[in-house]
Symmetry: C2
Amino acid sequence: MTLVGPRNRIDSVRILGPARHADQVEISRRDEFFLGVDAPVRASGDTDNTPGIKLLGPTGSVTLTKGVICALRHIHMHPDDATRFRVRNGDLVNVAVNGGNRDLTFSDVLIRVDEQFRLEMHIDTDEANAAGLQAHDVGTLSLLEEHAHMVV
Amino acid sequence: MTLVGPRNRIDSVRILGPARHADQVEISRRDEFFLGVDAPVRASGDTDNTPGIKLLGPTGSVTLTKGVICALRHIHMHPDDATRFRVRNGDLVNVAVNGGNRDLTFSDVLIRVDEQFRLEMHIDTDEANAAGLQAHDVGTLSLLEEHAHMVV
């Protein structure tokens, strides 16, 4: 699929299932500048007051009136993992990345707990590049000094 | 100026003075993927065993045999600032960014001290986006638990 912004378009954008109740387009900050769209950092599903965008596919196009977000970094985990890490759905935690020459500690990492999830941290390419990360690299989860929680 | 990589080219690249003894091209990880160049994270000036690239200007082109780096994040400071922060040229420190929804702490931040420098942290667009930063935002410098130093 192609995202068509006011400034540029991005081809070969992947469509992820399962289908949601509402359309959602997750792009990086870099993609925002390129497309010419100013989208907020949001937890997945929180698409009120977000910009729309034109989607172009092989059989036509559709223009969304909202749904474009810059995804808040988050960790999918099974309830067993949540017990092990002593976190609950909606908690915000830190994740430290060490061992390279771009070590850093991400804060504002949202915990999402679901029976269907397996342990996986989701970040965008800007965030991966800033930490010098590649697929399958690992980080170290730690709790914030002051407990923080989002309603998600 | 235009950078011409094996995969793509990037136009409107800025040339920075004063002139160096050796050519150096600083690009982000994202730019590397786009251009098709695999450059290491390096301190400025450390260009041994780095890839080259073709430069295209209004009156012709030149192909560098080396000099493309992904710049190690760093802070320029005057010796007075170094005294105030209790750091020396070559030290590696942490810088925390707080107050938004992409808070993080950069490690591996190199201190560069020079009489000509004024206090300024240099990061690339990947790093700025990961922290939700814009020009003139500020961070908090802290020392590492174990002192780290690079010869620069």
